[in-house]
Amino acid sequence: MYWKYVVRRILYAALIMVVCVFIFSALFNTVADKVMRGQIDEQVKGEIVQIQKSNRGMHPEQLQAIRDQRTAQLYAQYHLNEPMMQRIMYRTLSSLVFNFGTSTQMKSLAGSNNVNTIIYERIPRTLLLFGVAAVLDIILGVWLGLVKARRAGKMMDRSTDLVTMVLFGLPLWWLGMMFIMLFAFAIPIFPSSAMHASPPPADALGNFLDLMHHLALPVITIVLFGFWGRAYITRNLVVSTLQEDFIMSARARGLSERRILFGHTLRSAAPPIVTMSLLALVVSIGGGLIFEGIFSWPGLGNLYWQAVQQNDVPVLMADLMVTTVLFIACLAFLDLIYGFLDPRVKVGGKA
């Protein structure tokens, strides 16, 4: 029965995706059209210059006619003359098949100005940074949460709660700035920016170590910032499970605290711990993306900075769409994990 739930959840995610892309297309329709018209005019101007060069004696009126005709042709090709609703539908469709057109300023590593290329080369880098951080974050967070739950209300529990609250309204990127100042400026043990030294080491091992060296400081920042929150969630879930009747009966049977914690409590508290931790993590990454800009980590988050600075609307919109798609995919994936861990979810069929 699980696969049925999987199919339904994936279809639902796809539907939400379509709705979101439609909303974005509608919201940014005007500005995107303007940019596209500008790009077409630019392109036609270039073509006219070419024509002028190849046959010099051409009459200006003739040139103007070619220009008008070519512009109209391209406008028609990109559906620019159609009513607004159709424009929005067209843009939604082309975004859904990941056709984001060309950028106005930015270029990919190879020099292409295809927005897809620019975006695709950045996805793995963002996944690497936040993936490594997420794994460490959850391991540390769940461990600390269990320690806190065992000593609920004691010194250790309360002091780490305090840290959670102190960090609650702190911007991740500011912590990044502080760590750069501490560990790249005052005590220079980590590089302050980028993903590789320039030039990068030639051999594979050197390259890998160099990557790890550059990855270390941002990952440390994310983990130190986030794992308190994970611990807080874990602690609360474990503590409320510890108050259930079946735990009391386990205690009454004289089981050791250790067995109660790992054998009984954790078994029933694990599904919400996993999903709530991952959920909090995914949401915080949605907000933490721009943190990449502090470390000049060349991922999707840094792309927002660069696209804003260069006022590159197509890249900005494509970045938003791709981030949203990744976000929705993560949420759906979480529900699937939850459904797998906790069979009760599937019965209701509701996520």
Binding site: L167, G169, W174, G287, I294, Y304, L320, T323
Partner: protein, 469 residues
């Protein structure tokens, strides 16, 4: 009903008073409110809020100065910022009528003690009408450097001569003979630090390895005022110290303490306003969704899910980049995506409450849906609403500063995020200018902590199971 609601809030407060961190949070909030109210007296620059980006407003303060209290912790002291008025002045008048010329001679002695030399010395002359002037800086060892200039326009004007900006080459010329000839020949005059050379012993190494000489450095100004109407309005020598103010200054000479104080107002305002609107909307939305049930509930759930599926900061970045909103529109836009916070919990609480017999009784007595929603359901959710309001303030502040960091903030106001953007943009992080980076971020963190303390304290009261086992 009114009395019952009041009682409920009073019990809530009685419990709240027992949570220590909550009280600390309230105290901190009080401090922040006091800072906002006392801002005109707290900050030495009263127009800091309105003229933060007006560089002419900050022109008379030192650049890149550390906070004053840095001197308490260092053995080698930084010079303090001070204003020197003329110690002696002499006026001679020649000619009469339209050819009147008055010559003002003034001396400004500056006692330089040991330690780091000042960041700059600025000679400031307020002149009305035409004049020509000569400025002479005399060192204790008699070496001197001079600069001549004139004012040619009618009307009041202020001449500012900075040693770093206008007199650097004169300092080089005066001291180059003492420097090791081989070195002096190849050293680029624009590369020297004029201030440390000015206060250094005239010996080889004056540019590379300066040894400071304490003593009286005198600025002599000779000003010729041309014409009967020309007059000298003000004359001062500003010693731009290495330390200034409570939090120092940035590379645009702005006083950071004034900036942080001005930012407090906006942080509090946008945080509270955003959380107030969005929690109000979220609570009403959740209650309505739970109360009506059926297809309305289903539809509202779908809308809710669409909003929670959009990553918050990215959409705000793109919207701000495209629409370039003012701070007020930005608050509204944040509300559009922040209201989802309390919905889920509120809905489940509403589902429980609506099963109560008294709701049915109210219905039976002919109460409208609106009356039941706002008189019976919403009041019971008030404590919860306050808690989630407190907990969503930091998010709003962090979101605004993140947008500002990327450069999408409202440029007509000062926010902590914008100060941090300026710092990051001018490389303060990599140059170790900690007094520019730490205070605004710390302010964001402390304000976040304030509301976290308050919110979590309410949360513990609302979920007693979480306290201990």
């Amino acid at each position: 009903m009114k009395g019952a609601r009041f009682d409920q809030l009073r019990t809530f407060w009685a419990e709240f008073r027992r949570v220590k961190s909550g009280l600390v949070g309230l105290a901190l909030l009080g401090v922040f409110i006091l800072i906002v109210l006392l801002a005109p007296w707290l900050s030495p620059y009263s127009q800091a809020d309105k003229r933060w980006r007006d560089m002419t407003y900050w022109i008379d303060s030192p650049r890149d100065a550390r906070p004053l209290w840095v001197n308490w912790f260092t053995s080698r002291k930084y010079t303090e910022t001070q204003t020197i008025n003329a110690a002696s002045s002499k006026e001679t008048i020649t000619g009469s009528g339209s050819s009147t010329m008055r010559i003002e001679e003034m001396e400004f002695p500056y006692q330089y003690k040991a330690g780091y030399p000042p960041n700059d010395i600025m000679i400031k002359l307020g002149v009305t009408g035409r004049s020509s002037y000569e400025v002479l800086i005399v060192r204790p060892d008699g070496k001197q450097m001079s600069y001549r200039g004139s004012t040619t326009i009618e009307g009041a004007q202020v001449v500012r001569l900075s040693v770093v900006e206008t007199l650097a080459s004169r300092v080089y010329a005066a001291l180059a003979p003492s420097e090791d000839p081989a070195f002096a020949a190849q050293k680029d005059p624009t590369q020297i630090d004029p201030m440390s050379a000015l206060f250094a012993k005239a010996q080889p190494g004056v540019f590379t390895n300066p040894v400071n000489v304490p003593g009286t450095y005198t600025v002599k100004v000779k000003l010729a005022l041309i014409g009967p109407d020309a007059k000298l309005d003000t004359s001062q020598v500003l010693v731009m110290g290495g330390v200034s103010g409570i939090l120092g200054t940035d590379d645009g000479k702005r006083d950071l303490w004034s900036g942080v104080v001005a930012g407090t107002k906006w942080a509090l305002l946008l945080g509270l306003l955003t959380s107030l609107i969005s929690v109000a909307v979220g609570v009403i939305y959740g209650v309505a969704s739970g109360y009506f049930g059926g297809w309305i509930d289903a539809l509202m759930n779908r809308i809710y899910e669409v909003f929670t599926s959009i990553p918050l900061l990215p959409i705000l970045i793109v919207m701000s980049a495209v629409f370039k909103p003012s701070i007020w529109i930005m608050i509204l836009v944040m509300c559009v995506f922040f209201w989802t916070g309390p919905v889920k919990t509120v809905r489940s609480i509403a589902l429980q409450i609506k099963e109560n017999a008294y709701i049915e009784a109210a219905r039976g007595l002919g109460a409208s849906h609106g009356r039941i929603l706002f008189r019976h359901l919403v009041p019971q959710l008030l404590p919860f609403a306050f808690a989630s309001m407190a907990l969503s303030v930091p998010g709003a502040i962090v979101t605004e500063s993140s947008l500002s960091l990327i450069g999408l903030g409202d440029a007509t106001v000062v926010t902590w995020g914008q100060i941090l953007r300026d710092a990051f943009g001018s490389g303060a992080v990599l140059k170790g200018v900690w007094w520019w980076v730490v205070p605004p971020g710390l302010a964001i963190a402390v304000m976040g902590m304030t509301f976290a303390f308050i919110g979590f304290a309410m949360d513990t009261i609302l979920n007693p199971r979480l306290k201990t086992r």
